[in-house]
């Protein structure tokens, strides 16, 4: 919301501060000033000039030579402006002065434009007559300015006087950020009240009094509100003998400072009151209203209505309409109808100031697709008490501006007002809550400035109706704090029972995952939680894959962000693809993020959010490098048993011969593999990609940060090497299972040290060699101990069709 500072000062006349002081103080008391701009920025040495004589330029058809009276003297100015004539009063920037911009109204240069005397086609010119755009403003805000040419004053101004002053540009436009709870501050009066309290100056609300003629408004109009849940008050007044004309300059300037374009006195009055009181109004041409009757009711589903902008609007039964005896004439709180709008021939006007249900207006405006200044204010939920004051203020202005004749009386249909809130005054509690020592007197002084009435007898504070935000003790404390000054409140640290700062176990495991991944050369990526349903096809998931049962977002940003991921691979593959596309070599990425598995579809309860530790890489490294990272991580979180790798992982997105489920004890904790070449094709990656996905909830029960010293072996180890010829289909995992199962207690460890397929080995076989180490905790092993263990192992291996090599 924007207002001019001069408008605020109209209600707080003693306010005396610089723009910066105003900004700082208002921001610290809670009315945040986003910025301010001085309207006279870069306007220097600009005075009123009267064109006394105009001659043609001897050497240029489009130029004229003007003798301009600037008070003390007359100067010569050459101009190309087509609109000036002798006797015109115009703004003139003198030699050495500055204007804000060019006549084309483009962006204003930071330092303005310096004007110097000089010659134009050989003729001396001692200054420049200014177009409205050169003064940094526009025809929108000064509608009387010509489309092309110099601004000419309509009013009487004295040559030599300050032209910037005469234009009302010695002012500052202040931009505020109003918080949604402060409906009252979406008005100049509301902000002025805050400013008065902030600067401890008196606040003068306008004195509203309407004469009205001796007719009775009820002879002109009656009002019936059918849907009182959506309209809690409807005030109507009538003005006749309307004489449309431009509104006075002061009103135009104030509207312009809010960014509202002046139109004519009638429209400007309704806009002015909307800004001043925060109460939108509407004016109907009474002659268009059938049956002299206003009915406020819901529309019917499927109805259509033409708003005054000429557009047809689709209605439904939750949209509130203003109707006459026969037809709909306005979209309540949003926009009037084409059929009842004010035209130049209007004679009698019906003013409406109503209180509509804010949430309903917001939703209706959205459904209709029409958000107006009025609906933007209504949707915040207005104070019904404000409507009457606003409509009377509008009628007062009609009278004061000579715009028409106000018919006596008001039609006021309303629901009973809610009682004013009362809250106990508890100064000690406020101080205890804030950590302050504000005196009782200071608090009461603050409350008084805010029109929070205190009754010493009952010790109750009565909250004015416009402060809908104040409901309880904490709100009262905030008022005290704001005007005492947040900056004056001391800084302390909480006392009381001490607590232990810590990460949850799950988060510690994730921290370890990051450490290990980074140690292994993987950098952390972050991917979105939502993705496109096309991902399932890209990953070659079959039509019946349960992973396709994803949670769908009802209002996504687009199909690409429409489902909650059930598998983490797409994120990492997309990131790898982006890197590959940018020709980054040897990329290793990991991600820690959730997948979302619904318990049922449609979703009825919290889904299972499963943290996935996903690793992906291309370039240096292969399947076994990835497997190494997995094992480093498992060792890092205390999972010391050997994980098992099951090649029958059944992952359609992985290379069928290069994938494995990772089993740990009884759980499947994840999978790894080389990405299927068709999938890498789908991601436009033209190289081998390896991935591993660890399902953190599955491995969490096995993880531990407990560590125990197991002693260092005291007795020597004995090792035996065996070299085998193994049928190709036998996995080394099968061999290892035999070694583990049959090695007995003395088998300490085993290590694969050679694997070979080729010329020296018969077809269908491979050569595999292991080194097996035996050790006893309590003695030096005898040859016979080792021999018997080896025999058991070898017997077992024979069962797999394995032959020992000599």
């Amino acid at each position: 919301m924007n207002t001019s500072l001069s408008w605020i000062k109209a209600y707080v006349p003693e306010l005396d501060c610089t723009d910066q002081e105003y900004r700082d103080a208002m921001t610290l008391s809670g009315t945040k000033v986003e910025g301010f701009s001085r309207l006279d920025n870069n306007l220097e040495k600009i005075v009123v000039g009267r064109i006394d004589r105009i001659e043609r330029h001897p050497d240029a058809d489009k130029l004229i030579i003007c003798q301009v009276n600037i008070g003390a003297e007359t100067i010569q100015i050459v101009t190309g402006a087509p609109n000036v004539k002798e006797g015109d009063l115009v703004p003139v920037v003198l030699d050495g002065g500055k204007v804000a911009g060019g006549h084309d109204g483009g962006p204003l240069p930071e330092d303005g434009i310096k004007i110097k005397a000089g010659k134009l086609r050989g003729i001396e010119s001692c200054g420049m007559m200014c177009a409205i755009e050169e003064l940094g403003t526009s025809r929108d805000l000064y509608p009387e300015a010509p489309e092309d040419g110099v601004y000419v004053f309509r009013k009487q101004v004295t040559p030599g006087a300050d032209a910037v002053e005469a234009l009302g540009l010695h002012d500052t436009v202040v931009e505020y950020e109003i918080t949604s709870n402060r409906v009252d501050c979406y008005s100049v009066l509301g902000i002025a009240r805050e400013a008065a309290a902030t600067f401890k100056k008196p606040f003068h609300a306008p004195a509203v009094n309407v004469q009205g003629n001796n007719e009775d408004v009820n002879q002109y109009i009656s009002v019936e509100v059918k849907d009182t849940d959506l309209c809690t008050r409807y005030c109507a007044r009538v003005c006749k003998n309307i004489k449309l004309a431009p509104s006075p300059e002061w009103m135009q300037r104030r509207l312009a400072s809010c960014g509202i374009r002046p139109i004519n006195n009638l429209v400007d009055i309704t806009n002015y009151v909307m800004m001043e009181y925060g109460q939108p109004m509407h004016a109907y041409d009474l002659s268009t209203i059938a049956g002299n009757k206003i009915i406020v009711r819901r529309a019917k589903d499927g109805d259509t209505f033409q708003t005054l902008d000429g557009q047809m609007r689709k209605l439904d039964s939750e949209i509130l309409m203003i109707c006459d005896a026969e037809k709909e004439i306005g979209l309540a709180g949003i926009m009037g109808g084409e059929n009842s709008k004010i035209t130049d021939t209007v004679d009698t006007v019906l003013f409406e100031a109503a209180t509509f249900n804010g949430a309903n207006i917001r939703k209706s405006a959205k459904r209709v697709g029409l958000r107006t200044d009025a609906s933007g204010i209504f949707e915040k939920g207005l104070d019904p008490r404000n409507a009457e004051a606003a409509i009377n203020r509008a009628c007062q202005l009609i009278e004061e501006l000579g715009c028409g004749e106000v018919v006596g009386g008001i039609v006021d249909v309303k629901e009973p007002f809610a009682e004013l809130r009362q809250i106990a005054f508890e100064p000690e509690r406020i101080n205890k809550f804030l950590g302050t020592e504000i005196s009782r007197e200071e608090m009461l002084e603050i409350f008084e400035r805010l029109e929070l009435a205190y009754d010493a007898q009952t010790n109750l504070i009565t909250v004015p109706s416009f402060r809908q935000d104040i409901e309880c003790f904490a709100d009262i404390a905030e008022e005290a704090a704001r005007f005492y000054g947040y900056d004056k409140i001391p800084t302390t640290l909480p006392m009381g029972e001490s607590t232990t700062g810590k990460l949850s176990f799950k988060l510690r495991i994730e921290q370890k995952a990051r450490d290990v991944a980074e140690y292994c050369g993987f950098s952390q990526g972050m991917c979105y939680s939502f993705e496109s349903p096309k991902v399932f096809d890209k990953l070659l998931l079959p039509a019946d894959s349960p992973l396709r049962g994803a949670i769908t977002i009802a209002n996504p940003l687009g199909e690409d962000f429409s489902i909650m991921r059930t598998i983490s691979l797409n994120g990492i593959l997309t990131s790898l693809a982006a890197n590959y596309n940018r020709r980054n070599k040897n990329v290793r990425l990991y991600e820690l993020g959730n997948i979302y598995i619904p318990q049922s579809l449609p979703v009825e309860d919290y889904p299972d959010e499963r943290m996935q530790f996903t690793l992906g890489m291309y370039g240096d490294g292969d399947f076994f490098a990835m497997k190494g990272v997995v094992e480093e991580f498992l060792a890092g979180i205390g999972m010391k048993a050997r994980p098992k790798y099951d090649p029958n992982a059944g992952k359609p997105f992985l290379h069928p011969g290069r994938q494995a489920l990772i089993r740990y004890k009884d759980a499947v904790i994840g999978y790894l593999g080389e990405v299927h070449p068709e999938v890498t094709d789908n991601y436009d990656i033209d190289t081998r990609v390896y991935v591993a996905v660890l399902d953190m909830p599955e491995l969490l029960p096995y993880a531990s940060f407990e560590r125990k010293y197991e002693g260092i072996a005291k007795y020597p180890a004995v090792s035996r090497d065996i070299s085998m010829v193994v049928p190709k289909g036998v996995l080394v995992g099968d061999i290892e299972q035999v070694i583990e199962q049959r090695g007995g207690k003395i088998m300490e460890e085993y290590e694969l040290f050679d694997i070979y397929e080729g010329a020296q080995i018969k077809a269908g076989f491979k050569s595999v060699a292991y080194s097996i180490t035996f050790r006893a905790e309590d003695r030096t092993l005898e040859e016979s101990d080792v021999a018997s263990a080896m025999k058991k192992i070898l017997n077992g291996l024979e069962g797999l069709g394995i032959e020992l090599r000599a």
């Binding site: 008391s29 809670g30 949604s180 709870n181 402060r182 917001r362 205890k432 809550f433 804030l434 302050t436 309880c472 904490a474 404390a477 905030e478 704090a481 947040y486 409140i489 001391p490 800084t491 302390t492 640290l493 909480p494 006392m495 009381g496 029972e497 607590t499 232990t500 700062g501 990460l503 949850s504 799950k506 988060l507 980074e518 140690y519 292994c520 050369g521 993987f522 950098s523 952390q524 991917c527 979105y528 939680s529 939502f530 949670i551 977002i553 009802a554 209002n555 940003l557 982006a578 890197n579 940018r582 980054n584 990329v587 290793r588 990425l589 990991y590 979302y596 979703v603 919290y606 959010e609």
Partner: protein, 339 residues
């Protein structure tokens, strides 16, 4: 005899001094001190010496042996030293050649910033917890004093799954989950992913992170809120950081505030980084609204508390001077390697 020994000794020392390699020295040792060496031969000839002379001769032989051994050792040490020096001379490295590094990976800047924040608050006794990303309307809105028709619930901002279930728009719902557990006092920090229906651009992302803080105890004051967050700002942005609290509005806190920190680039004098303001907006905070406490079965007459919410990306972008939010989700290795 004595002369002979002197001769042997002199000869041995001469040969030692002439030796140029360690194996030559060994030859000398063998030929003089070995089993068949000359000195050994002298000892063997002791039987020809008169018995009363023997101790004396024995002593002489030993003296000669010791002398030869001493000279041998000295020569050997000398030779080894020279050899080592020669080797080291040949081994001179160009120490400016490139280092051999194992390529460590890099943490995401969000995580680095998050761990900084966690470290600070863990030090102040906060427990780091989590809450669900897909959340119920009640926890995201209603229990936070955002009633059904509140504009904050507008579909423009919130991704809905259905009328009751949504993608959380703020981490504040974790406050409610924690308070509902009924264990007081509370000092919690809840980082996590949140979602809002903003199109992707340099300053917006439909998915980002917040860090929620909550303290509930007896006698918690607004001054405690100020003190805690001022301490946090100094820890995060440097000892000289000043803070400014401005009144603001959040439905679930009262009074509410926004905290600005003095620009850590210019120290507050105003620069391009802080758009000439000297201050940078960092977080929103406030005293937990009595309605929120009551909905979580905490008696606002007995307990008070404060809460705050920080945008993690905001901290990361500011602290590491990242000028485009999209970089955080592209995962370009050239970006990640800079952290």
């Amino acid at each position: 005899m004595k002369e002979k020994l002197e001769q042997i000794k002199a000869e041995a020392i001469r040969q030692i001094n002439e030796s140029e390699a360690l194996d030559k020295l060994n030859d000398v040792r063998v030929s003089f001190l070995g089993k068949k060496g000359e000195l050994t031969a002298v000892l063997k000839g002791m039987k020809d010496v008169a018995p009363e002379e023997r101790p004396k001769v024995g002593q002489l032989v030993n003296e000669a042996r010791e002398e030869i051994e001493r000279v041998l050792e000295e020569a050997k040490a000398n030779m080894e030293r020279k050899l080592r020096e020669a080797r080291m001379k040949a081994e001179v490295l160009d120490v400016t050649l490139p280092a051999m590094k194992s390529r460590l990976g890099h943490r995401h800047p969000n995580t680095i910033a998050l761990e900084e924040v966690e470290r600070i608050f863990i030090g102040m006794g906060y427990e780091v917890v989590e809450g669900p990303e897909i959340e119920k309307d009640y926890y995201n809105f209603e229990a936070l004093n955002i009633p059904a028709d509140h504009p904050a619930k507008d579909e423009q901002d919130t991704f809905y799954i259905n009328s009751d279930i949504l993608l959380r728009t703020q981490t504040s719902g974790v406050q409610v989950h924690e308070m509902e557990k009924g264990k007081l006092p509370i000092r919690m920090l809840a980082p996590g992913r949140v979602f809002r229906a903003d199109e992707v651009d340099a300053t917006h992302s439909p998915s980002f992170h917040q860090i929620e803080g909550l303290v509930i105890d007896r006698n918690i004051t607004f001054a405690d809120l100020k003190g805690t967050l001022a301490e946090f700002a100094r820890e995060l942005f440097g000892e000289d950081t000043r803070v400014k609290f401005r009144p603001h509005h959040f439905p679930f806190t009262e009074p509410s505030a926004e905290m600005d920190v003095s620009c850590f680039k210019c120290g507050g004098s105003g620069c391009r980084f802080c758009k000439g303001e000297g201050w940078i907006e960092i977080l929103g905070c406030g005293m937990v609204h009595p309605k929120v406490l009551r909905m979580c079965n905490i008696d606002p007459d007995e307990y008070t508390g404060f809460a705050f919410g920080v945008g993690l990306e905001r901290i990361a972008l500011l602290k590491y001077e990242i000028d485009d939010m999209r970089l955080l989700y592209e995962n370009d290795i050239r970006f990640l390697r800079q952290f």
